[in-house]
Amino acid sequence: MTMRKVAVVGAGMTRFVRRALETPKELAWQASRMALESCELTLEDVEAVCLGTAPDSFDGIHMNGEYLSDGAGAWRKPYMRSYVGGGTGVFVPIQGWYHVASGLFDIVLVVAEEKMSSYYPHAQAAFITIFDHTTERPLKPNLLWIFALEMNRYMTMYGISKADIARVSVQHKRNAAHHPCALLGDANITVEDVLNSEVLAWPVQRYDVSPVSDGAVAVVLAAEHVAKRLTDKPVWIEGVGWNLDTAHWTNRDLVYPRYVEYAARMAYEMAGIREPKKEIHIAEPYDPFDYKALHHLEGLQLAERGQAPQLYIDGTAALDGNMPVCPSGGLLGVGNPIAAAGLMKIAELFWQLRGEAGGRQVPGQPRRGIAQAWGDLMQVGTVVIMGR
């Protein structure tokens, strides 16, 4: 029995901004409309809708998925919202994939929306409620400092310098200068700028972190027979993987994301990939912090443990390198409206593999790319492999 092949046939995204004037519904609708127009479909053609959005506390709406349903184009359609925290952006296309691969639907609209600015004055405060109510919340933990713990562990274990990690931020923000939707693209940023930025929670400095943002992204998925009718350039979902580790994050060795490795291995097996370093041409690892891109490249088996900074030092990760990393500009450059940022990476692979990425197009007609997101309490990895 062969599995049904599923293709991405269209994509659209709003600009990522610090404070959008649009309501969450309007953001979702703008991205949905652009995605449908990109493949000349209308809502009539859409058989089901999958939605991704991170915690309800940002929009301050209980059952936020229900609220967003008509904005996402789900009026009188089968509609579901999936959820794996920060990993949601790369999970929601996986949800779309199983909708189509199951044989139940031929055309599915996948939408990710996030409006973090509704949480006033700053979305960071919403994150207090992600921690265990008994053991952790009384300590008033902050995401910046738990990731500072992880970054510190990573640097200490392998003897990696702040300057080498800062290269990630520099390269991603430079790539984003070519992205029309980017919030923090900067063609001239340097390692010194990163190292001189404000310290938030040592070793995390302001330019090591992606910005709080608003935005939405949508893609259209289609079954093989429909995709071939719709476009000459379908981009196939070749493999998907996801993995959720225990909630007891304090028991985890934070130096290595095993859950990302397991998710990646699941996707590689499905895609028939044995040597990821050779067979993956573009990588879009999740980069809410600069060290996270390195961490995730190791989890994805695209670098040896502790060796990921080398990809940035020797130019492998550059836009014209052997394996460009985050040609989109990533979360560090384009912005981080949580679920939308993950789906932005899927949209980026779609445009890159079709040769439609404009000023940030990777040369050499890349054939296959990988996108990954991560979330929860340093706990979940979601991976999609796309190829043409």
Binding site: G65, L68, S82, N243, L244, T246, R258
Partner: protein, 383 residues
């Protein structure tokens, strides 16, 4: 399309109005252990993926999916959460098996409603923040408006709605899992306190705590592991307009469409004479009647008459909520649809005990996500 999908293991804990000595994790663990033993599977070795249904605001935790894996034996496994009803979770696990990529998938839903001190306020936060929230609409007020419109459009009476309460709470007396069994007269139901006219307090299901876990497998695995698989013949789900201003109030187009989707997969158009019994939404008494009509078991306006005539009793032609439904068992938040599906499974396996129906082969489960949503799902199961 690939192989058929079967439910081969079920487990539950609860259902009780309060459970102060247990956490949701302990209740989930108890349900999971039962379900895995029932299916004969080991979560660490055999189960390939896990699905949970949960909503952050019900749990009082943002990004609640963080806390889902441990009590299910799902750490370091592919697991995700659907912010939907239990039947949405069932549809998700069903699709995953259908892809051919997974043979054994576990599904979990739970309610710890007794932990929520401000459930009416939490529910009100589901309304549109710009257009509706400033009006400070209470959830039951919205339900009262819907009930009024339903009665107006169909000629259904308040007494017929009360008959649903009477039936379901009497059925619950036979069900040891049900916390709200009672033998009430129509007079007692109708003379209860008002919520939002015509909706009375006794038209509303009270909350309960509990957890349900199921194991879904592909056909080939079902043949190996189980001698009493329950097959999912069809499953459908649908949303209508989330806005209070632009929806139909008397009828349920989303239940109609979800039912049509499920029936299409199951290979029939009209459930009458095919579906032997149903476990459906009765969050409020009138919802059972409104849903029966949307599901196509009768014409608009007929469901109340059928109830009066006893057709939906345990001994009737189409037993509805023989378990007691949410009115008799308690409403379990996001797990409610899963409780309905579990009751269908138990009936089809002949394990329903004192409320076992005779000669049943095809059962239907249906759910609604509550005010202010227009989100529902329908599953058709067979033994």
């Amino acid at each position: 399309m690939n192989e058929r999908v079967a439910i081969i293991g079920v487990g539950w804990s609860g259902y009780r109005p309060v459970s102060p000595e247990l956490s949701y994790k302990e209740m989930t663990y108890a349900a999971a252990v039962k379900a895995y033993a029932d299916a004969g599977v080991d979560p660490r070795k055999d189960i390939q993926s896990f699905v949970t249904v949960a909503e952050d605001f019900h749990e009082g935790t943002s990004i609640f999916d963080e806390y889902t894996p441990d009590q299910l034996g799902a750490a370091l496994k592919p697991m995700h959460t659907i912010t939907g009803d239990g039947l949405h979770g069932l549809a998700t696990a069903f699709m995953m098996v259908k892809t051919g990529q997974f043979d054994i998938v576990a599904l979990e839903g739970h309610s710890k409603a007794s932990n929520i001190l401000t459930l009416p306020e939490v529910n009100a936060y589901a309304q549109d923040p710009v257009l509706n929230r400033p009006l400070r609409l209470n959830t039951h007020f919205v339900a009262g408006m819907e009930m009024n419109r339903f009665l107006f459009e169909t000629g259904t009476t308040i007494e017929q709605c009360a008959a649903v309460v009477q039936k379901n709470r009497r059925n619950a007396l036979r069900n040891p899992k049900a916390a709200f069994g009672a033998d009430l007269t129509l007079e007692e139901i109708l003379s209860g306190p008002a919520l939002s006219w015509p909706l009375g307090k006794r038209d509303m299901a009270e909350q309960a705590d509990g957890a349900v876990v199921m194991v879904l497998v592909s056909e080939s695995v079902a043949r190996q592991l189980s001698d009493k698989p329950v097959w999912i013949l069809g499953i459908g789900w649908c949303n209508d307009s989330p806005s209070l201003e632009s929806r139909d109030w008397g009828v349920l187009p989303y239940i109609q469409k979800a039912a049509q989707m499920a029936y299409r997969q199951a290979g029939f158009r009209n459930p009458q004479g095919i579906v032997d019994f149903a476990e459906i939404d009765d969050t409020y008494s009138y919802k059972e009647l409104q849903s029966l009509e949307a599901l196509g078991f009768c014409q608009p306006g007929e469901a109340g008459v059928l109830t009066d005539d006893g057709a939906t009793d345990i001994e009737g032609d189409l037993p509805v909520n023989a378990s007691g439904g949410s009115l008799g068992m308690g409403h379990l938040l996001d797990a409610t649809g899963l409780v309905r599906a579990l009751e269908v499974v138990l009936q089809l396996r002949g394990e329903a005990g004192l409320y076992q129906l005779e000669d049943v082969n095809i059962g239907l489960a249906q759910s609604w996500r509550g005010v202010p949503t227009t989100s529902g799902a329908v599953a058709v199961l067979a033994n």
